[in-house]
C-alpha cells in the first residue's frame, strides 16, 4: 500500500509519475448477467466480433470497448433489442501515454426493463478526436457530449449543436486534459508561502 517504487525517492519531489496499466480483456464466463448481455448482443448484432474490440469485466461491471465507427449501430441495438433505454451521459478520460488512443469516452448505460447496467468505452487518438454522436439514439446525451467536448476536446460528429457548455465560449484549450495545468497562485500565510496545488510536493 505505502512505499515508493523505482527510484526509492520518498521525498515527494521525485515526480514519480505512474502510468495507468491497460487492463486486458476478460475471458468467458463473465459471471452475473454479463454473459446474457454478450449473448443477446451477439445474436441481435451479427457484426459483434468486428465492432467490439474487447470485453472487460472488472469489479462487477461490464465494459464493452466499441470501435468508434460502429458506436451508433451498437447503441441502437442496445437500446432497441437489449432494452438499455437510458444512457447516463458520457465521461471523458485522457491517457496521454496510450499513444494512438489517448482520449477515451465512457457511456454508462441503464436498462430499466431488465434492471441492468453496462458500460461502453470508445478510444480515439488525440490528433483525430472524432466520435459519432449518440444524441440521435439517446437525446439526453446532448449536454453530456457538449460537456465532454468542452473539457476534453472530443468532437462528437452529428451533434445538433456542439458548443462549449461550462467554460466561456471564447475559452482556449480543454481543461480536463492532463497536459492542461490546474493553475493557481501561491498563497502566503503567516509569512510562509504555500505553492499552488500544481507545484506542491505530492506523492504520485
Amino acid at each position: 500500500m505505502f512505499g515508493a517504487h523505482g527510484t526509492g525517492d520518498t521525498s515527494g519531489y521525485g515526480g514519480l509519475v505512474r502510468t495507468p496499466a491497460a487492463t486486458g480483456s476478460s475471458e468467458r464466463p463473465y459471471g452475473s448477467y454479463f454473459d446474457d448481455v454478450a449473448d443477446d448482443l451477439e445474436r441481435a448484432y451479427p457484426g459483434f466480433s468486428d465492432a467490439i474490440e474487447r470485453v472487460v469485466v472488472d469489479r462487477g461491471e461490464l465494459t464493452l470497448h466499441v470501435k468508434r465507427e460502429k458506436l451508433v449501430e451498437v447503441s441502437k441495438i442496445l437500446r432497441d433489442s437489449l432494452k438499455f433505454e437510458m444512457c447516463m451521459g458520457v465521461s471523458g478520460i485522457h491517457y496521454p501515454e496510450q499513444s494512438g488512443r489517448e482520449l477515451h469516452a465512457v457511456y454508462p448505460l441503464l436498462s430499466i426493463t431488465n434492471n441492468r447496467r453496462i458500460r461502453l468505452e470508445v478510444s480515439v487518438p488525440e490528433v483525430d478526436a472524432h466520435i459519432p454522436s449518440v444524441v440521435e439514439v439517446w437525446a439526453g446525451n446532448n449536454w453530456h457530449e457538449r460537456e465532454t467536448f468542452d473539457m476534453f476536446g472530443i468532437i462528437f460528429d452529428g451533434h445538433p449543436g456542439l458548443t462549449r457548455i461550462l467554460m466561456p465560449d471564447d475559452w482556449q484549450g480543454h481543461p480536463q486534459r492532463k497536459d492542461y495545468a490546474l493553475g493557481g497562485i501561491p498563497v502566503e500565510y503567516k509569512g510562509a508561502t504555500i505553492p499552488a496545488p500544481d507545484d506542491r510536493r505530492s506523492y504520485r
Binding site: 505512474r18 447516463m88 430499466i112 446525451n141 490546474l182
Partner: protein
C-alpha cells in the same frame, strides 16, 4: 460628441433588431416602446441573476405574445472545476470537494464518491453495518432538507411566501441535527471512504426521534396550505408536462420520472448501504406535471421519516460497533475528542504516536500526507439523490489520487428537459416547470 446612454433603461439598435435593457423602475415607458414596434416575436433573456431561476441559471426565451416558442438554457456560471481539482488531492481529501457540488444534498455526493472509491478498493462488504446505517440516516435527513428547499422555493417562485417560511423552519431542524453530528450544517465531508468520519454523539438518536415526531406534525402545515389550494392547483396542474417516453430518452430520473407513474428508485431497484433492509414505499403519481412532482416530494418526506426511525433503531442496536473499516491502511486516523480548544485528535492518540510508538507516528504521517493507494481501474456507483440518479464515475491509475472523476449529476441532466416541458406554454409556467425539476446550479455546473 458622444451620445449618452442611460445604463438602467435604454434601447439600442443592433443587427438583430432593437435591444431593450430592462432593470428596475417604471416599465410603462418600455411597454409603450415595445408596443410601437411591429415585431410579434421577442427574445427575452431571463437570468442568470433572476430570483426565480434557482440560482445562476440563464434562460433565453423566444416569445410570441405570451406564448413561449423556444427555450434555451445557459449554464456554467457556477463552474468551479471540482472534477479537475480533485485530481490533485488524495482520495480522502476528495470528499471535501464533492460535498460542495450539489450544495443542497452534500451527503449524497459524499456517499456516491465513497461507494465508488470503496468499490475500487474492493472493500464494499467490509464497511461496518453501523457506518452504513449512519449513512442512510444522514442521507434521508438530507433528503428532507433538500425537498424542503425544493418545495419552499418552488412555492415562493409561484408567489406563495408562507410555505417557504414553513419549509425553511423544518430545514433548520435538520441542519441542527447535522451540526450536532458532524459539526457542520452544510458541506460536512462527514462520509469518508471506508465509513464515516466519527461516531454519533451521545443521545443523538434520541434527539433525532424527537425531531422526527415534531417534523411529522409540522409537515402537515404545508400540505394543508397547498394541496387543494385553488391558486396552487391552477399554477401546477397540467403544467410542465413530460411523459415516460420523454423521460427515458432524455435520461431523466428522480421525482420527474416517478411523476410518470414509473416506480424507479435506486434505493429499491439497485440497493446500496443496506437499503434493502428498510421498509419504505416508492412514491409515484401518474400526472406527469408539476403538481405530481410536488406531491411526490411531499409524500417522500414521510417515507424518509420512516427510514430515519428504522435507521435509529438499527444504530441503537449496534451500539459500540465500529464506524470505519478495520483496515488501518485505509481508515483515517481520527480518534477525535472534544478538548478545551474544540474538536481535535484525542490526547490519548497524540500520546501514543508522539510518546510510545514510532511506527504509529510514521503510519499516521504517511496516511495523512500521502494517503492510501487505490488499485487501478474504473467504476461507476450510483445513488438515488433527491433529484435522481447521482452517479460517480471514478478512474484510478493505482496512485494516491483519483486519475479522473466525473459526476453524472441529475440536475445537469434533468435541466435539459426545460425545452420539452416549456415550449408552447405561457411565460409564467416556465417558473413552475423549472422549479419542479429542482435544479441546483452547484450540481449542474460543478
Amino acid at each position: 460628441m458622444t451620445t449618452f446612454i442611460d445604463p438602467y433603461s435604454s434601447s439600442r439598435e443592433t443587427t438583430e433588431g432593437t435591444v431593450f435593457s430592462v432593470t428596475g423602475g417604471d416599465w410603462n415607458e418600455l411597454v409603450t416602446e415595445i408596443g410601437a414596434t411591429k415585431e410579434e416575436r421577442i427574445v427575452v433573456n431571463m437570468g442568470p441573476q433572476h430570483p426565480s431561476t434557482h440560482g445562476v441559471l440563464r434562460l433565453v426565451l423566444e416569445l410570441e405574445g405570451e406564448t413561449v416558442t423556444e427555450v434555451r438554457c445557459g449554464i456554467g456560471y457556477l463552474h468551479t472545476g471540482i472534477e479537475k481539482n480533485i485530481e490533485y488531492r488524495n482520495w480522502t481529501q476528495g470528499v471535501t470537494f464533492v460535498t460542495r457540488m450539489d450544495y443542497l444534498s452534500p451527503l449524497f455526493n459524499e456517499t456516491a464518491y465513497c461507494l465508488a472509491t470503496e468499490k475500487l478498493l474492493g472493500i464494499t462488504n467490509d464497511v461496518p453495518e453501523r457506518a452504513s446505517a449512519i449513512r442512510v440516516l444522514m442521507m434521508e435527513l438530507n433528503r428532507i432538507s433538500s425537498h424542503m428547499v425544493a418545495l419552499g422555493t418552488g412555492a415562493l417562485e409561484l408567489g406563495a411566501i408562507t410555505p417557504m417560511f414553513f419549509a425553511f423552519r423544518e430545514r433548520e431542524r435538520v441542519l441542527d441535527i447535522f451540526e450536532m453530528i458532524s459539526g457542520l450544517r452544510m458541506n460536512m465531508a462527514y462520509i469518508r471512504p471506508g465509513g464515516v468520519q466519527q461516531d454519533l454523539p451521545e443521545g443523538a438518536t434520541q434527539k433525532i426521534r424527537e425531531t422526527v415526531k415534531e417534523m411529522r406534525k409540522a409537515f402537515k402545515d404545508n400540505a394543508t396550505l397547498l394541496i387543494g389550494n385553488s391558486i396552487w392547483m391552477k399554477r401546477t396542474v397540467g403544467i410542465g408536462y413530460l411523459d415516460l417516453a420523454g423521460c427515458t430518452t432524455l435520461g431523466i430520473t428522480g421525482p420527474v420520472l416517478r411523476s410518470t407513474g414509473l416506480p424507479w428508485d435506486l434505493r429499491k431497484t439497485q440497493p446500496y448501504c443496506g437499503y434493502e433492509n428498510y421498509d419504505f414505499d416508492v412514491v409515484t403519481t401518474d400526472t406527469c406535471d408539476v403538481y405530481g412532482r410536488f406531491l411526490i416530494r411531499m409524500n417522500e418526506l414521510e417515507q424518509s421519516l420512516r427510514i430515519i426511525e428504522q435507521a435509529c433503531d438499527k444504530i441503537d442496536k449496534l451500539a459500540g460497533a465500529p464506524v470505519m473499516v478495520a483496515d488501518k491502511k485505509i481508515a483515517w486516523p481520527a480518534q477525535l475528542a472534544l478538548g478545551g480548544d474544540g474538536l481535535g485528535n484525542s490526547l490519548d492518540h497524540i500520546r501514543e504516536i508522539m510518546g510510545t510508538s514510532m511506527e504509529s507516528l510514521i503510519h499516521h504521517f504517511k496516511l495523512v500526507t500521502e494517503g492510501f493507494r487505490v488499485p487501478a481501474g474504473q467504476v461507476y456507483a450510483a445513488v438515488e439523490s433527491p433529484r435522481g440518479e447521482l452517479g460517480a464515475h471514478i478512474v484510478s491509475d493505482g496512485g494516491t489520487r483519483p486519475y479522473r472523476m466525473h459526476f453524472r449529476e441529475p440536475s445537469f441532466n434533468n435541466l435539459q428537459s426545460t425545452s420539452a416541458m416549456c415550449e408552447g406554454s405561457m411565460v409564467a409556467d416556465i417558473i413552475g416547470a423549472v422549479a419542479s425539476i429542482d435544479p441546483v446550479m452547484g450540481g449542474v455546473d460543478r
